[in-house]
């Protein structure tokens, strides 16, 4: 049990600090963020710089554009870069989810060609799993891929694809056989997103923003050489991707606590500092316990991974707790402000309307990557080993599963 760096880790941190000092943009505190587009372009430039310095995809093997170092090194990098006003984990889905899939299933030639370009963010990747009628039930997906010679013809629709509008490639899960059981009829591929037959449409969220897309496939083509794993082996491959996703997002998901702490330290109401309000202090203590608990749990998981373990389903707990408290903290902050809490003007509202924006975005964070209920199921079944419910979708052909004719 030790929170200090080993000598080797300390030296790595030193290098990182030196390089960041010379290359990264210092935090200006009050910088209002630029447009989504602008931020994206800056991120690509920054990632190229990081890649050239050898800090991109730190845990990947050198030959694929990584640094061949451990999860702990990655944590050190994240801790240090967080001190600067530069994006980290911006291409987390491509590098965190698609990368491992390519590494596991693609040919050596594909790996050496694709992975370094992914690590440097020259190529951008997205993940194409969710569908309108396959949300919590990802394996309920219906996007068809039909084999035609050495090609697969894709028709259908994906949804909630972040970064699709910028992506060169996507890792896609398709239904390749509706006549066999649900979980055995899927196959994974990677697809060229720039081809005709792939149509990306942004989704407007309840908060007015649009970080996600719908992607429509109309006779889009995939050469069989871009198949990832066996035909019918798609679900197993997808689980591997999702397991890596947990590791990728763990620790970077916002829980809203730092902003609340800042609010308590800065805001006065009727001339009384919030920090002196016993009710606020009690809530602060309550949420700090969750905040600290999530952080420490993530560190426990990283320790396990560093020792060679796989990221366990335990990661689901950080997602579950953090997403809920993120929403409740924002709501509580508004309640403290009373009438003026509803004002969203960035120039008037505390922390550039952080709490108002969070109230409107938080519901999405609870949903993305699995609802609260899905997280609890994962914990109950995969961690505690409790029995599944009676399944209405097992042992019958996919096409015969009751669907209420939706989607």
């Amino acid at each position: 049990m030790d929170f200090k760096d080993s000598p080797e880790q300390a030296e790595f941190r030193q290098q990182v600090q030196t390089w960041l000092k010379a290359n990264a943009k210092p935090k200006t505190g009050d910088s209002v963020r630029g447009s989504q587009e602008g931020r994206y372009e800056q991120a690509k430039v920054w990632y190229k710089k990081v890649f050239d310095a050898g800090y991109a995809c730190i845990t990947w093997p050198k030959e694929y554009g990584g640094a061949g170092l451990s999860q702990i090194h990655k944590v050190i990098w994240s801790q240090e870069v967080a001190k600067y006003d530069e994006p980290d984990g911006y291409f987390v889905i491509g590098q965190g989810n698609c990368g491992p899939a390519i590494m596991q299933f693609a040919s050596e030639a594909q790996k050496t060609e694709l992975l370094p370009r992914m690590a440097s963010a020259e190529d951008v990747w997205c993940q194409l799993f969710s569908e309108p009628s396959a949300g919590s039930d990802v394996a309920g997906l219906r996007t068809k891929a039909e084999q035609k010679g050495d090609k697969w013809i894709v028709n259908g629709q994906k949804i909630w694809t972040s970064g699709a509008q910028h992506s060169d490639y996507g890792v896609i899960l398709c239904r390749t056989d509706p006549d066999i059981s649900k979980y055995r009829g899927m196959t994974m591929f990677f697809i060229d997103m720039k081809q005709a037959g792939v149509d990306v449409q942004p989704i407007t969220q309840m908060d007015g923003g649009s970080h996600f897309n719908e992607v429509f496939f109309n006779n889009a083509e995939i050469p069989d050489s871009q198949r990832l794993g066996d035909v019918g082996g798609g679900w197993g491959a997808a689980l591997l991707v999702l397991m890596n996703e947990r590791l990728a997002i763990s620790g970077i998901q916002p829980d809203g606590f730092p902003e609340l702490l800042k609010l308590v330290q800065t805001l006065e109401i009727d001339g009384e500092p919030l920090r002196n309000n016993p009710l606020v202090r009690e809530r602060l203590a309550h949420w700090y316990c969750q905040h600290a608990g999530i952080k420490a749990s993530t560190n426990r998981m990283l320790t396990a991974v560093a020792k060679g373990g796989m990221p366990g389903a335990e990661a689901a707990l950080g997602k579950l707790v953090g997403a809920v408290m993120n929403q409740d903290i924002a709501n509580y902050a508004l309640q403290l402000m009373g009438d003026t809490g509803a004002i969203c003007e960035e120039t008037l509202a505390e922390q550039h309307a952080h709490f108002q924006n969070t109230v409107m975005f938080a519901p999405g964070i609870r949903l993305a990557g699995g609802t609260d209920e899905v997280m609890r199921n994962i914990i109950a079944e995969q961690v505690l080993g409790l029995p599944q419910e009676p399944r209405a979708d097992k042992g019958i052909a996919f096409k015969d599963i009751p669907s209420g004719n939706q989607g």
């Binding site: 969710s130 309108p132 009628s133 949300g135 919590s136 039930d137 309920g140 949804i159 909630w160 989704i203 407007t204 969220q205 309840m206 908060d207 007015g208 805001l267 109401i269 009727d270 001339g271 009710l279 929403q327 709501n331 508004l334 309640q335 403290l336 402000m337 009373g338 009438d339 003026t340 809490g341 509803a342 004002i343 969203c344 003007e345 008037l348 108002q356 109230v359 409107m360 519901p363 999405g364 609870r366 949903l367 609802t371 609260d372 209920e373 609890r376 419910e389 399944r391 209405a392 979708d393 599963i401 009751p402 669907s403 209420g404 939706q406």
Partner: protein, 369 residues
């Protein structure tokens, strides 16, 4: 002992519900949400024609001479339909201020106008974060003119006149201010629920007419807050009903893992919890409605109880309705966020839940002592 609305009141409620179902679809609410209009003026005109703003105004002051119970059932329907009109600002707030703080002559002049919708009123009380606090009011009147500024004024950008809390020689008073005059500048403020918009009002030597009633301003404002708290709680439970209804319909029609989503126990229990918190709020609102209509001593406690319950209930029902819809609940296209936005707006106007909890306990310990 009868803990329910009368058949006449239920009839009024049914009429209101049918009217709003026909005239105030969410598609129409979105016109205001999406900024095509700052409020739904035609709908407001229809509502005025129906006489709803005059519901709780005496007949000899141009009202319908019904009562607060009738206004409560209408409020529930306004909340259910998310009506994008200044009903709260003009009816629950401005009208009640006039009834409580204005002189007989002022009432005789203004109440008929308010009842007939000849002008839209609003209440301008808050100047800073936190619930209204008389001690921190900076708006000042001298020689009949008002200077200072108010913020988060509900429907302040479209109201014709504002009832303003201001100090004259250090003493709090309530003033009627014509908002179209030169001495007033106003700015619409982006807020969580554009269908219940907020504004900043800046007064620079604006003409202001003092309300000349016998009740002191502080008492009047406190009582207006209590009355409005009850009426808002009905708008909130109307919204809770609608949100739960949405969740029920979607999860019943939607399939996952080969089953109706609504057949999963976690979803059933989520909806059951929404029902439970909603029904507790409804029951507390009913008690508040009785205290309001009977002008009972219990009103301050009952109003705070109704308000706190309604705030909690609408937050939970509107946010869990989004979750019950899964990803689609997070889209602009689905209506879930309309209720969630309204829940935020209604919970924050008149001060949030911490303020009202403290009100509640204060009254509870006094009445129990």
């Amino acid at each position: 002992m009868n803990f329910d609305f009368s058949d006449d009141q239920k009839f009024i409620q049914e009429q209101a519900r049918n009217f709003l179902a026909a005239e105030c679809s969410t598609a129409r609410v979105r016109k205001t949400l999406e900024g095509e209009q700052d409020f739904d003026r035609p709908l407001w005109q229809q509502i005025v024609d129906l006489g709803w703003p005059a519901t709780a105004i005496d007949e000899d002051q141009g009202g319908l001479g019904l009562g607060y119970l009738e206004l409560c059932v209408i409020a529930e329907e306004m909340g259910r339909a998310l009506a994008p009109v200044p009903f709260i600002a003009s009816v629950y707030l401005a009208t009640e201020v006039v009834k409580l703080a204005a002189s007989k002559a002022q009432q005789d002049a203004w109440l008929p106008q308010l009842g007939a919708g000849e002008w839209i009123g609003c209440l301008a009380a808050v100047e800073q974060p936190g619930a209204f606090n008389a001690d921190t009011v900076k708006c000042a009147v001298s020689n009949g003119v008002l200077s200072g500024s108010k913020t988060a004024v509900l429907h302040g950008a479209i109201a014709d006149k504002a009832l303003v809390a201001a100090k004259e020689n250090g003493e709090l008073g309530l003033y009627l201010v014509e908002l179209s005059q030169a001495g007033v500048s106003r700015k619409a403020l982006k807020s969580l629920d554009p269908t219940q918009p907020l504004a900043e009002l800046v007064f620079d030597k604006a003409d202001a007419e003092k309300l000349g009633g016998s009740v002191d301003a502080l008492t009047a404002i406190a009582k207006v807050y209590d009355r409005a708290a009850v009426l808002l709680s009905f708008e909130q439970i109307g919204g809770c009903d609608a949100a739960l209804e949405m969740a029920k319909e979607y999860t019943t029609a939607r399939y996952a893992f080969g089953r109706q989503v609504a057949s999963f126990q976690a979803i059933k229990h989520k909806l059951a919890d929404m029902f439970v918190i909603k029904e507790l709020a409804r029951s507390n609102a009913y008690y508040g409605a009785w205290a309001l209509s009977a002008d009972a001593d219990e009103l301050p406690l009952a109003a705070a109880t109704a308000r706190v319950s309604a705030i909690d209930a609408y937050y939970q029902c509107s946010k869990e309705n989004i979750q019950a819809h899964g990803g689609m609940g997070f889209t602009w296209e689905f209506d879930c966020h309309l209720y969630y936005r309204r829940a935020q707006a209604l919970s924050l106007t008149l001060g949030g839940s911490p303020y009202w909890k403290e009100q509640l306990v204060g009254h509870l310990l006094n009445s129990a002592a």
